[in-house]
């Protein structure tokens, strides 16, 4: 019997809960702990950025990350400006924090669009089968067959420039993967004893599906959340770089776009700072996603030995 099956058995006998055991397993690895620390810092930066953003908007003054100071252009990293200044004398560190804020927003909001759609359709298709399933499979096949990046660009173009387009574009194109995983999982769960028991007790479909089956498959959504977060960040950077994402705000894509031109003039620190920030966050999410997947779902385990 593999890890999770033992854990599920133990949980059924009133032992340690499945979730807690999985958490213990993740926490046991130093790599996963390091990832959690990195992501904690990222969340704090996003939160701080959000607070500062709201404060300056409320005070109705130009925030310091937009303040141009032409006498302080192209300053390398130093005591006053930790990560130097950009071509308009704006502090790179403060802009980086604002970029974290936008990346965080994009990851969370696009997930809030994609995960409910994917989970709902996957549950319905897997549970009811037949015609309902045909529609779900048809929808997901259709969405999956449209080239991803182009689809994202087309949605962003139709919705218009700005973060709303980014949210919708990422959210509406990435639910397919979650839907497929959940559907496959529900298909397996619905043959299990507890579902038959619930059916024998005469519970309604809605109650069986959402009270009994959903808690047993929701870990799929959790794993896919950690794995799609870095993808969402990458897409946002791409869209903002092309000028159809964040408008007038220092997102990481906007920063790369301006740092790219400065790089040729020897100003390396802005690009280095953004690159390092994206690298750290995406790497942490990737590693944590792998660790979570191993702990929660051994069938998807990446082969290590």
């Amino acid at each position: 019997m593999s890890g999770a099956a033992v854990i599920r058995g133990a949980a059924a006998e009133g032992g340690v809960s499945f979730g807690r055991e999985a958490w213990r397993q993740v926490w046991a690895s130093w790599l996963a702990r390091a990832c959690l620390v990195v992501l904690g810092v990222f969340c704090l930066a996003a939160l701080a950025g959000e607070t500062a953003h709201a404060w300056y908007a409320w005070q109705d003054v130009t925030p310091p990350w937009q303040m141009q100071d032409l006498s302080a252009r192209y300053l390398p990293p130093g005591a006053e400006h930790w990560l130097g200044t950009d071509g308009l004398g704006r502090d790179v560190f403060l802009r980086l924090v604002q970029g974290a804020r936008i990346a965080f927003q994009v990851g969370v909001v696009s997930s809030l669009i994609a995960i409910p759609i994917g989970v709902l359709l996957g549950c319905l298709g897997g549970y009811f089968g037949g015609k309902v399933d045909d529609v779900v499979v048809w929808l997901s096949t259709t969405f999956a067959s449209i080239p991803g990046l182009l689809f994202v660009l087309a949605i962003a173009m139709v919705v218009g420039k700005g973060l709303l387009g980014v949210f919708l574009a990422i959210g509406l194109t990435t639910w397919v993967g979650i839907c497929r995983l959940i559907r496959a999982e529900v298909l397996q769960q619905k043959e299990r004893g507890y579902v038959r028991a619930a059916r024998a007790l005469g519970f309604s479909h809605g109650r069986i599906l959402f009270r009994h089956i959903l808690p047993n498959v929701i870990h799929v959504a959790l794993v896919s959340f950690t794995l799609r977060f870095p993808a969402a960040i990458g897409t946002e950077v791409f869209l903002s770089f092309l000028g159809i994402g964040a408008q007038g705000e220092p997102s990481w894509g906007v920063m790369i776009s301006s740092a790219r031109l400065r790089l040729w003039q020897g100003m390396w620190w802005e690009l280095a700072a953004v690159t390092a920030a994206i690298f750290a966050v995406v790497l942490a999410f990737n590693l944590l996603g792998d660790a979570l997947r191993d702990a929660l779902d051994p069938r998807l385990r990446t082969v290590q030995d």
């Binding site: 048809w138 929808l139 096949t141 259709t142 969405f143 067959s145 449209i146 080239p147 990046l149 182009l150 689809f151 660009l153 087309a154 949605i155 173009m157 139709v158 919705v159 870095p230 990458g234 950077v237 791409f238 770089f241 092309l242 000028g243 159809i244 894509g253 790369i256 790219r260 790089l263 040729w264 690009l271 953004v274 690159t275 994206i278 690298f279 995406v282 790497l283 990737n286 590693l287 990446t302 082969v303 030995d305």
Partner: protein, 431 residues
């Protein structure tokens, strides 16, 4: 075998229909007519109408016998902005008021073309409202159909035909709507679009003024010149590395390579291109920075393309190979004393071919769109470059065509993958 191919082709039809529907919903229903974006904000109603008529945007979306016209925007005097009110002579606020005997003046933006059937609908109340002159307070509708006919080279223009006139008392008008008759009930944008897709007519680019089909044909060559080498080199390199990992699994080489792969995956795609172009083309001068003139111009973009996909692919192939190595036949092979290399290359690789083929087939559509950013950065005039420019200039026809053709190719690639799989692996059931 042929029955299987035919069956897979039939199964693809709903997907194709779905793709057509989704692109229609995205560009026509949500996006609406691009006339204002293409022609600019100051374009007059007549050129907007001509643009829309040429591209079918003057039809109803799904179905209908009547459709709106640019000649007279439908108006609701409860919510109309001051500019519209002034054009109608409607005063500051409230409904439009006609005194007894006064006729409604329609501020048409251009002459109504001859030979069309029209319908004017007026909703309002009052003692003089035609046909409902009972003085009732509720809103009443008055509709009139009419034909535009050519008369001495002139059509109706701001003339009250068909005449709506207050008779026997004042009238208050809330809504006025002028509609054009469609040719038949299903004469819609959807039918127009589906018909064009069936004829493989992708329309005309509004920014380049060329047929989209010609643009696609011109762009496919450079795109393939970039992406075919990327696909082949990447397949070779990542399979080799994955085999190396599988061969020395658990050793420092394997662990090191896996760690490098995860790190490679986490470097942003943009950063690869920006730094690659800066370091290798600008600082070191090993490669040309920009352009599409000789094979030398392709070396750097291909290298960067391979580097960006390497992490994901090596990890994927390694997982496939290692999963295969857990199977019984591998144990048997080892048990009868075969060496590791022999087992790996003769047995495992052959059996792992299925997922490899699927992975390659699903990467095939990527050949077509090319790599948007690589083409943009290095000035390769392929389809990616075309799409980026089209998105910046809101060239709907081009974007839609690229999306549509990409989706069709993906579907075809899927079928090809299944067929190849059935061909390679006799265990796959053809039923």
């Amino acid at each position: 075998m042929w029955r299987y191919v035919l069956k897979r082709l039939l199964q693809a039809i709903p997907t194709v229909v779905g793709v057509v529907l989704i692109t229609f919903i995205l560009f026509n229903v949500v996006g609406g007519s691009p006339a204002a974006t293409v022609l600019g904000q100051h374009a007059d109603a007549r050129s907007l109408a001509e643009y829309e008529a040429a591209r079918g945007y003057d039809k109803p979306l799904f179905c209908g016998n009547w459709t709106a016209t640019r000649a007279l925007e439908a108006v609701d005097f409860e919510t109309a902005p001051p500019g519209v009110r002034a054009r109608w002579g409607a005063g500051q606020d409230g409904w439009l008021r006609l005194e007894d005997g006064e006729a409604l003046h329609l501020p048409l933006a251009f002459l109504l073309p001859a030979g069309e059937r029209w319908r004017l609908t007026v909703a309002g109340r009052g003692a003089g409202f035609p046909q409902h002159g009972s003085g009732s307070c509720r809103t009443t509708q008055w509709k009139k159909n009419f034909h535009t006919v050519e008369k001495n080279g002139e059509f109706f223009h701001g003339v009250e035909i068909p005449e709506f006139r207050a008779a026997g008392g004042p009238v208050e008008i809330r809504r006025v709507r002028l509609e054009r008759a469609t040719r038949h009930f299903l004469d819609s944008q959807l039918a127009h679009y589906a018909g064009r897709v069936l004829r493989l007519d992708f329309g005309t680019s509004s920014s380049l003024n060329q047929p989209v089909a010609r643009l696609l044909k011109a762009g496919i060559g450079p795109s393939l010149a970039l992406t075919v080498p990327i696909l082949l080199v990447e397949l070779g390199v990542s399979l080799t590395l994955a085999l190396l990992c599988a061969y020395r699994r658990g050793a420092w080489l394997d662990r090191g390579l896996v760690a490098v792969c995860v790190a490679l995956m986490s470097v942003n795609y943009l950063v690869w291109i920006v730094i690659g172009q800066y370091v290798f083309a600008y600082r070191l001068g090993w490669f040309p920075v920009w352009g599409f003139e000789s094979w030398r111009h392709l070396l750097l973009p291909v290298g960067i393309g391979v580097a960006t996909g390497l992490g994901v692919n090596v990890r994927f192939y390694r997982t496939i190979l290692l999963e295969e190595m857990h199977k019984d036949y591998v144990k048997t092979a080892f048990a009868k004393g075969l060496g590791r290399g022999r087992v790996l290359f003769k047995h495992v690789l052959k059996n792992a071919l299925g997922p490899v083929i699927t992975n390659v087939a699903l990467a095939l559509p990527f050949l077509y769109t090319g790599s948007l950013l690589l083409e943009g950065f290095f000035g390769i005039p392929g389809l990616g470059y075309l799409s980026l420019n089209a998105i910046h200039s809101a060239d709907v026809d081009v974007v839609r065509a690229v999306v549509l053709v990409g989706a069709l190719l993906f579907t075809v690639a899927n079928i090809l993958a299944d067929i190849a799989l059935a061909w390679v692996d006799p265990r796959v059931k053809l039923s």
